[in-house]
Amino acid sequence: MCLTCGCGNEDDVRVVTLDDHAHSAHDHQHHDHPHDHDHQHHDHDQQGLHSPDAVHRHAPSTENLIIGEAILAKNDHLAQHNREWFAERGITALNLMSSPGSGKTSLLERTIAELGNAYPVCVIEGDQETTFDSERIRRAGARAVQVNTGAGCHLDAPMVQKAAAALDPDPGCWLFIENVGNLVCPALFDIGEHAKVVIISVTEGQDKPLKYPHMFSVADLVIVNKTDLLPYVDFDLETFNSHTRSLNQAAEIMPMSVKSGDGLADWYAWLQKSAGAR
């Protein structure tokens, strides 16, 4: 059941009571799914004899309860609440994901400096510890809250729900949600964003999409940052694009240098487009 609105989907739950002693190895019609038929209460050895602890395995009897629900159903449900909450306020929420040090916060600082006067920008910062990044964002001129996940390696929908309630982002704003620096775990969790933006820097290597395919396969936009360093590193943009395309045909790939400003016009145009498409 959803803790937010009390709704829930109980319709797909069925209870089937199994009588251990009437149950035969061939009587599986009550299961509507494949399984391994690993019933320990029929644990006979090759000669058909009971194993020594068979008496204990016959008792107590068990009931089988079909659940058939996505493991992340609760997170996905809360993510949908977040999405609706943002939509009601005209907020465009973007989930920024990358390795640590790719330049997420620097991109936001520059975006706030160059767009913040014309358009409201708010930020949810995710890090395991410290408020360093939210302090940077505030100094850049935008409102921000910090989520410290402690041992957690990603933001999930409940964390974003709490953070958004605390931040109370301006109606009509761009809400940048800077996920925990990690190219693995954040890929699996819907937080209610309108688009997923993956940022990689050229110093990380052109093979990152193949090493972290889940992250690149869910991206709507892939920003390749620090292109001002291309003369000094072995990073071939064409090879990187080809690797990304092998996983994700739809994602836009955007080379950029936050430091020099190259590619930022494309980023601002993409932001306008994403707000319009919301």
């Binding site: 494949p34 399984h35 391994d36 659940i67 058939g68 996505a70 493991i71 395919p213 092998s246 045909q249």
Partner: protein
Amino acid sequence: MHELAITQSVVDLVVERTAGRQVSLVRLEIGGLSGVVPDAMEFCYELVVSGTSLEGSKLVIEHIQGAARCRSCGQDFDLDDLILLCPCGSADVEVIAGRELRVLSVELVAEPCA
């Protein structure tokens, strides 16, 4: 290690659906393209179920082979990773299996008759 959070989600879901009754077995379906490593879930399962109504229960994970359908040649084929390429050479393919992350069923310890 998102498997810890995923495993916690399994336990939360099962506890909620079983009203705290003692659970003896949990059966999951994990797709080969889901991004979740079954071994890592098994590794943290005992820790996560400790002190809950799932303590001592067995975890059974059914692996679902990744599969895709090619929109160019119409063939279905196995997919062992997320590189979306049909043997015919087309990259216009749709994943049709392997992303599953589901709790299929649980076995509950029967309550004694009154």
